[in-house]
Symmetry: C2
Subunit: 266 residues, 2 copies
């Protein structure tokens, strides 16, 4: 059937009921203020009846919750699932000791992040001190073009691939140092390739610097990065450079462990 073909093509990428449900979860999780039924109704464009049933199912599943004042908020089941997903994550488990070593060597905050599309997603961190509370960071996505780990990871790809990945990305002006366009980024990437590691000099957050190195294992389709982060005032001349030795050592050690973990798969 031609019609069927067209249909299939047009709907390519949608995942039916599940996709709609997850879109709602996402909407609720993203909302700045708690959403009430009508808010969701307006934003989702679904008919009343349909939406109501979908939300009821989501509430029954614990993915979202209906507050006492009629507002839908993200459900605790998301936390439970993520908690287990995180603690069982092989790559994270494997990298953890090396992050600790790197932290001990530098005394600063260490991050581990995965590159996904044009974003990095933070997988783990070892903090200098609990002073500023933000282990919220884990699970967070940030643009690759303005983070040390992101740029380091991107630099392992060739320019064409980078252009493709960042095709739809809007370069946001976070600070005055943030790359404004793809050309500026690619120039930086070129230096990163020669140097072997990336800097982030207050490009994402004012007052925050870091050095980052990439972790890539092609056979595993793994592309990630680690970084050492510190407040700018603490990063004098040559300080970031001094961290590169332990940084690169840690990155290589993680790479090695990941590759070692390849063969003894059950």
């Amino acid at each position: 059937m031609v019609k069927q073909m067209e249909n299939t093509a047009a709907r390519n990428g949608d995942t039916g009921t599940l996709g709609k449900a997850m879109a709602l979860v996402e909407m609720v999780a993203d909302a700045a203020a708690p959403l009430r039924f009508t808010d969701i109704l307006n934003r989702s464009g679904q008919p009343r009846g349909t939406l109501h049933r979908q939300l009821r199912h989501l509430v029954e599943e614990g993915l979202i919750e209906l507050d006492t004042d009629g507002a839908y908020v993200p459900g605790l089941r998301l936390l439970r699932l993520a908690s287990r997903a995180w603690s069982r994550n092989e790559f994270r488990q494997l990298a953890a000791p090396h992050l600790q070593v790197l932290h001990d060597a530098t005394g600063e905050t260490v991050h581990l992040a995965l590159l996904r599309g044009a974003d990095v997603i933070y997988l783990d961190k070892v903090e200098a001190r609990q002073a500023v509370r933000m282990h919220s960071l884990i699970g967070n996505a940030s643009p690759a073009y303005c983070t040390g780990v992101g740029k380091a990871a991107l630099a392992t790809l060739d320019d064409a691939e980078i252009r493709t990945r960042l095709d739809a990305v809007k370069f946001e002006h976070f600070t005055d140092s943030t790359h404004a366009d793809i050309e500026s980024l690619l120039a930086d990437v070129k230096e990163i390739r020669q140097r072997g590691f990336a800097f982030d000099l207050e490009e994402h957050q004012q007052g925050i610097c870091c050095v980052a190195a990439s972790i890539r294992v092609v056979e595993q389709n793994l592309l990630a990065g680690i970084s050492v982060t510190a407040p700018a005032y603490r990063v004098g001349e040559g300080v970031l450079e001094a961290w590169t030795a332990p940084l690169l050592a840690a990155a290589e050690a993680i790479c090695r462990d990941v590759m070692a973990g390849l063969s003894p798969r059950r």
Copy 2:
């Protein structure tokens, strides 16, 4: 149709497609070792074709991922969603400063947890030091009967309600101090009510003690607890008791703030 009726009755409470999908996510997230297609096939009892499509949808949605070696692992989207759900959680935001105050007053690890059914789910923590890495805890569920926060929260309910909640709970023997049955727990709960706060003397983890207080706001259907936790060797005579004043102050402050947040709802 009789058959249809029976079917509907039998499936009462299930959430159709979504429920099946989430059951699979849960299975994958819970698995000790990464599961391959056949493993999931055997455990789920679904027909091949069906299961394959369900998994494909889940992968497309990013809820699970298909590893290079054919193993299904939890997807990063779970982390992203949970991260946002957590950082936007109103109760957590509101409690955070009080946790910090309590931590400053005691110098020990402070926990915030919600009671859900017969479990507590950890929502936040302020750590004494990053020495032992386990912010993994956030999102974790633990049995209420063997944790300080759990017992404190349970103690605000009457015995009948507690019995109902713990009806299906199997009392696991974590340490020699763990309550072995509901009667033992209820005796403890009685003391907790009189005392106004709960102890956990190595009942869940050997070598870990805590004092905990409940946070309850009936109008919000909120039932939670906070605790101050420390290794047993550091908890000499009267140490836990010394923490109760700031503990109870923090619990009350959080309660007050939650109630204050009631009226100015848009």
